[in-house]
């Protein structure tokens, strides 16, 4: 009776093309910058040209008189109301957070920091007025080098602190009771290898610049923003600006990528909200790319001192890690937590008995850092996979043999690591064997030997990365034990409409991932309704009243599970109504393919769509049953999920020019049960591109005065299509046992895995020339210089 499409046998596992695409390929998009509201003002922000300076005075008189200008505000004007840009992750009880004004009040601490804001009738008028603001700065010494920053007598970034160290976070397996003491491992080592690796500073570089439109309505406010976190922003904006939470609505419309770069609540969002409320007018702020590059947070930037100990036979006995992690000038939402997330991943897939991790978070006069795709885990994976290669050389072992000897064997799962995490599942052997076969490893090794023997100027290098990661953030209790300010659950709601169509509300907030498609597939299977009959709603706190948003490869493993729970609640209620309508006992009903049937009585069935209509009509419901077929569920994961895989890279390195060319890249990822293989593959491709970009192309560079010299896409070199190869991607499927979908998450895997695979390949090519390391990115100049230095 209801016009709903037939559900296919199985949606999960189908390479469905995406529901999201139609409006994106035709240009009918809803980017925040598209929004026009009657009476809306446009903001432009004056930014500090200095890395470190005291603000002596700001004169806005001339700017305020410019045509079209409605208001000019400085930090001093809003000092009493602007609060501090929130940090939700005080990683230690004594962590120093000097505070983070959205508009600088007395001092600027990085180039690009917001100093004043102009509100004008047009964007051009706002921009023009910036040049009329006169700021008198008293320059201070920049603080750029992390080790110098924590040395005695260093210039302090913040005058209200006594040191540039924000925190020291430490873990030691002997003390934690999760493994052996590290000191004993270091003392008893037969072989010790130490390396210092540099994780260069990166820029997330989402393609859609950040944009915020704020509409004050009565005593409330609606904030449209290009953000990954509408729910967290609602709470944080309420706490920061003192607006009652129930008066704040946050909408994340189409969001053009994030990669962690749109996780924090930003100064620009707070400024736009303050100005809109102060002036009682809708306001829009959209950043330029140059502004984005210097003021949206950066990622990575660590100095990693890694010591690995082993027996002569290749058994690793301990790993000792010290990090300096650059916080930049301020702590944003999860700035201090990023290196701490990595703490649990340095041991990777291996059974190391002893482990120590110490991280010093350091302030510098650079743009704040925060999450960037992988957030802590790429750094850890790089360090361990690079040093495993170095250890293999030291031991005279094949690098894959060394890995095999130390990794957790398939039959040993579930396995509790030296960090105390329990890996639920994995099959490193299967992924590795498949990857080796796909790339033709033995043939490449033979070719490499020949080219080495021939002194070929173009050398072949082979790189390995056998990685795992922890994602599906996260069990709330674990986050609590790490002092994170929120939980890790996710929410979902399902509303069965009278016509049999289904509305699904998720607290996850997509910005390119394909949630609408993947979540529809899950619901289609669970409820037995057609893929097309399902609408996924998200990204608006008035529709999705609670949620914890999208980051850390959590949307499927946590958000998808919340949807499963919500669907199961719908089925549970529908079962009561079906039993009533079929005049049967609930226990005698079975639910399959969207139909309730009476066991042993074929023909006596009712579809869930008909139950939805009967519930809406409410003419004949069981006593005590409310006339609605809706549900609400919140899922808190019992464990992280642990995707893994084997990535292999073959590079040609021209020893005369230093040019690195990826000849073949093969990866076999195990992300558990794929809901949509097409989307999984797309996520892997994009992840690989970003990880390879760290290995070969990208670096945010500051000069000696603290100026960001890579301030545009001319200098900050995102790879183009011409810079990347086609990848060979494949999968093994070892379902996660920690959730009934068997899913693990795929958003970050490619980025986490690929960087060390590429750099290991570059070093492998150059090893006969005496090269032991090349700092990332391995540009032709760096590679060429490394060769020259090794040969000198």
């Amino acid at each position: 009776m209801t016009a709903v499409a037939d559900a296919p046998a199985q949606e999960i596992g189908r390479s469905r093309t995406r529901k999201e695409d139609q409006h994106l390929i035709t240009g009918r998009t809803t980017w925040t910058d598209n929004i026009q509201i009657a009476g809306m003002l446009h903001l432009a922000i004056l930014r500090s040209p200095m890395a470190h300076a005291r603000i002596v005075s700001i004169d806005t008189t001339e700017a305020a008189a410019r045509p079209g200008v409605i208001a000019v505000l400085t930090g001093a004007d809003v000092a009493d109301i602007q609060g501090t840009v929130p940090c939700a992750w005080p990683v230690t009880p004594d962590m120093v957070n000097p505070g983070h004004p959205s508009l600088a009040v007395t001092q600027v601490n990085h180039v690009g920091e917001a100093v004043a804001v102009v509100a004008a009738r047009s964007k051009a008028e706002a921009q023009d007025a910036l040049e009329a603001i006169d700021v008198d700065y008293e320059q201070l010494d920049p603080v750029l080098d992390m080790e110098a920053a924590v040395a005695d007598g260093a210039t302090l970034v913040h005058p209200n602190t006594t040191s540039n160290k924000s925190f020291t976070w430490a873990f030691e397996s002997g003390a934690a009771g999760t493994g052996a003491p590290i000191e004993a491992a270091l003392a008893d080592a037969e072989v010790t290898v130490h390396r210092r690796f540099i994780q260069q500073r990166l820029i997330p570089a989402f393609m859609e610049p950040r944009s915020t439109v704020v509409e004050p309505i009565g005593d409330g406010v609606t904030i449209h923003s290009a953000t990954q976190i509408p729910h967290i922003m609602r709470l944080m904006m309420a706490l920061t600006l003192g607006i009652p939470e129930h008066k704040v609505r946050v909408i994340a419309p189409d969001v053009g990528g994030g990669f962690g770069g749109k996780i924090p609540v930003t100064p620009e969002e707070i400024i736009t909200t303050m100005v809109a409320r102060k002036l009682g007018r809708p306001c829009k702020f959209t950043e330029s790319r140059s502004e984005s590059i210097m003021s949206a947070h950066h990622g990575r930037d660590q100095i990693q001192d890694i010591t690995i100990t082993a027996k002569r036979d290749g058994t690793v006995t301990g790993l000792d890690v010290h990090l300096y992690a650059d916080m930049g000038a301020y702590l944003r939402l999860v700035t201090p937590g990023v290196p701490v997330l990595g703490a649990f991943m340095f041991n990777a897939i291996y059974k190391f008995p002893a482990y120590r991790f110490v991280c010093d978070g350091v302030f510098t006069t650079k743009t704040p850092t925060d999450a960037y795709r992988g957030a802590g885990r790429p750094e850890a994976t790089f360090a361990i996979e690079r040093i495993m290669d170095e250890l293999a050389v030291e031991l005279g072992m094949d690098p894959m043999e060394l890995r095999r000897k130390n990794w957790i064997k398939h039959e040993e799962f579930p396995f509790t690591t030296v960090c105390g995490l329990t890996y639920d599942s994995g099959n490193y052997e299967a992924a590795t064997d498949k990857a080796l076969a796909l790339i033709g490893w033995d043939d490449l090794r033979a070719e490499q030997a020949k080219r080495r023997a021939d002194n070929d100027p173009v050398q072949l290098g082979l790189g390995i990365s056998t990685f795992t990661e922890m994602c599906g953030l996260a069990p709330s209790r674990v986050l609590g034990s790490l002092s994170y300010g929120a939980g890790g659950w996710e929410h979902a709601a399902i509303r069965m409409l009278p016509s049999g169509k289904v509305e699904v509300i998720t607290g996850a907030s997509a910005h390119g991932q394909g949630h609408e498609t993947a979540f529809s597939q899950i619901v289609a299977d669970r409820l037995g309704v057609a893929f097309e009959d399902i609408e996924i709603m998200h990204g608006d706190t008035a529709i999705s009243h609670k949620g914890l948003d999208t980051y850390g490869s959590r949307s499927l493993a946590v958000g998808g599970m919340a949807i499963v729970r919500a669907a199961d609640k719908v089925i549970e209620k529908a079962r009561k109504i079906a039993a009533h309508l079929l005049e049967a006992n609930e226990d005698d009903l079975e639910f399959s393919g969207g139909q309730f049937g009476v066991k042993g009585a074929p023909g006596s069935t009712i579809g869930i769509g008909d139950i939805a209509l009967a519930t809406f009509a409410a003419h004949n419901l069981p006593d005590g049953v409310e006339p609605s077929l809706d549900s609400d569920a919140t899922y808190d994961p019992e464990n992280f999920s642990f995707p893994h895989g084997t990535h292999l890279c073959a590079v040609d390195v021209d020893t005369e020019t230093g040019m690195v060319t990826i000849r073949k890249y093969v990866c076999v990822d195990d992300v558990g049960t794929p809901i949509n293989p097409l989307i999984v593959e797309g996520q892997v491709h994009g992840g690989l591109a970003q990880g390879i970009a760290q290995a070969l192309f990208e670096e945010a560079i500051y000069d000696d005065n603290g100026n960001l010299t890579t301030g545009t896409f001319i200098d900050y070199t995102l790879p183009s299509a011409a810079d990347l190869p086609s990848f060979v991607t494949d999968r093994t499927e070892t379902p996660a046992t920690s959730n009934p979908l068997g899913v693990k998450g795929v958003g970050e895997a490619g980025t986490i895995a690929s960087t060390p695979a590429v750099v290991n390949a570059v070093i492998d090519a150059l090893r006969p020339l005496g090269v032991k390391d090349v700092r990332m990115p391995c540009t032709p100049e760096r590679v060429w210089r490394a060769i020259q230095e090794a040969q000198a």
Binding site: D21, E681, A689, F727
Partner: protein, 155 residues
């Protein structure tokens, strides 16, 4: 203010613009053609690519007054009047060549120009032909596949 006359996606417009107005800002702010977007300020990313008089152009590098008298096609004018998608739009969808979709309009407009110049490009020719358009999501592989698919469809 300067008067300009031009055709955008089949509709004629006659407007006064500030001489400094970029074509992309004219399209977005005066015509409401927000399908064309801005991704950078140095003409590197190509998100703003449109077709002007038969050639793809980064509309952030052109002043609106320079398009006076011209014919502009944006992503919003690609599909047929009955809604039938252009072969590239269809191929981007079927090949999963977009994720967040922000670069997509520019990428499709550049690919369209590429295929008009070279209807059957090799993978290398596609990669080099799209060098001026950045995508942060896809790693480009499915974009290449989409362009190959669209090229096949038109042969």
């Amino acid at each position: 203010m300067t008067k300009i006359n031009l055709t955008v996606d089949g509709v004629s417009y006659s407007d006064d613009v500030e001489p400094r107005t970029l074509l992309v800002h004219y399209l977005r702010e005066q015509l409401g053609k927000v399908g064309t977007v801005v991704g950078c300020d140095t003409s590197n990313c190509g998100a703003c690519t449109v077709d002007v008089d038969g050639h793809s152009v980064k509309s952030c590098t052109l002043l609106a007054v320079q398009a006076d008298g011209g014919t502009v096609t944006t992503i919003e004018g690609l599909a047929a009047a009955d809604g039938t998608l252009h072969a590239l739009q269809e191929a981007f969808h079927t090949c999963h060549a977009l994720q967040c979709g922000y670069c997509t309009p520019g990428m499709i407009m550049s690919a369209r120009d590429l295929l008009e110049d070279n209807p059957h490009p090799s993978e290398t020719e596609i990669r080099e032909g799209l060098e001026g358009n950045l995508c942060r999501c896809t790693g480009y592989q499915n974009i290449v596949r989409a362009v190959q698919t669209a090229a096949g469809a038109s042969s």
